[in-house]
């Protein structure tokens, strides 16, 4: 059976989950086509390296295959996938054993090929500022904005309370704003 995802009208998450549980390859292809780009983008912003982002996305899909029986309990596939991505990203970081070196100054030097794909200087500054945030704030922003998670879903993904998730997100935005202003003033002056 060929499955196409074209927004909420074409195929509901429930149907896709059933197909995933049944282990149909077409369902995984459809899932990648729908979520692959967003997951990669989020992984890239969390991990800072293209190859690590690719590995994290692959880990998410492989873990999805392994967790098929438990998928019946999933009510929000989007939130589930981004929570799985966050776990995969942290695991990838632990494997590299260089979490401390993921501070963004170092990452900016490691991404020439990926950064070349970013359109404007303004966007480059935005990505640079985002990467300068600590991991906790960066993942809160990425999961909320790229993953489209609610504060409750963000809290579940980060294993914190909803209030803490909301305040962390807000604080991350403020830090990002400050970092952007600093970068703009550096660029101008």
């Amino acid at each position: 059976m060929l499955i196409r995802i074209c927004g909420e009208t074409c195929l509901r998450d429930e149907l896709l989950i059933q197909e995933l549980i049944a282990g149909r390859e077409e369902a995984f292809t459809a899932l990648y086509e729908h979520y692959g780009h967003r997951l990669f983008k989020a992984a890239w912003d969390i991990l800072g390296r293209g190859e690590d982002a690719e590995d994290a996305v692959q880990d998410v899909f492989v873990s999805l295959v392994r967790a098929r029986p438990a998928l019946a309990e999933v009510r929000n596939l989007n939130a589930y996938l981004f929570a799985a991505l966050r776990r995969a990203a942290l695991k990838r970081m632990e494997q590299r054993k260089d979490m401390q070196h993921l501070a963004l100054e170092s990452l900016e030097h490691e991404l020439p090929a990926a950064q070349a794909k970013i359109a404007s200087a303004e966007e480059e500054r935005l990505h640079g500022a985002l990467r300068s945030l600590p991991l906790e704030q960066r993942e809160a922003l990425v999961l909320k904005i790229d993953g489209g998670l609610t504060f409750e879903e963000l809290a579940a993904a980060l294993d914190i309370s909803a209030n803490t998730a909301a305040s962390r997100y807000r604080y991350a935005l403020e830090k990002l704003r400050t970092a952007l202003a600093t970068r703009e003033s550096n660029a101008n002056g």
Binding site: F28, F40, D45, A53, V57, F61, L173, L176
Partner: protein
């Protein structure tokens, strides 16, 4: 309930949401789907193996139980009967009695079986034909053919 964001942070939120980003290479899709396929196969083969190994084990257990029951049934219902036309049964009975005197823990049936075997061995031995030894043995098959 989270407080609404001030306009400058809300604007930044929209800026972040609208930002571009690198697209994954086309090879990434192939790589991910290949990994999915491989994982699906290994998980399916493991699941099938578990199902079939359970059935196979159950089948083997059933056959073993059936064979044990059948052999016990056959052993418990086997009687030793002498041919009325054969006059050698007195000899067999005497040998069985001697065996029971030597080994009283043996049942009557087992003593008779051992006696029959000993008598048979004394008359016809299944041995390979060794050159130079033909004079000592008479081949039963040849006797039958004659």
């Amino acid at each position: 309930m989270a407080e609404p964001l001030p306009p400058e942070l809300s604007e930044l939120e929209h800026l972040l949401a609208a930002r571009g980003g690198p697209a994954p290479d086309a090879n990434v899709k192939l790589r991910v789907l290949r990994a999915v396929k491989s994982e699906l196969r290994s998980s399916d083969s493991w699941r099938l193996w578990r199902q079939h190994s359970w059935r196979f084990a159950a089948g083997v257990a059933a056959v073993v139980l059936f064979w044990l029951n059948l052999s016990m049934f056959a052993a418990n219902h086997t009687e030793w009967n002498f041919n009325r036309n054969d006059g050698s049964h007195g000899e067999t009975l005497a040998m069985a009695r001697e065996i029971r005197e030597l080994l009283p823990e043996l049942t009557e049936g087992e003593a008779l079986r051992q006696a029959a075997l000993l008598q048979t061995n004394a008359r016809a031995l299944p041995i390979p034909i060794v050159p130079g030894q033909q004079a000592r043995w008479v081949n039963a098959k040849k006797l039958l053919e004659e």
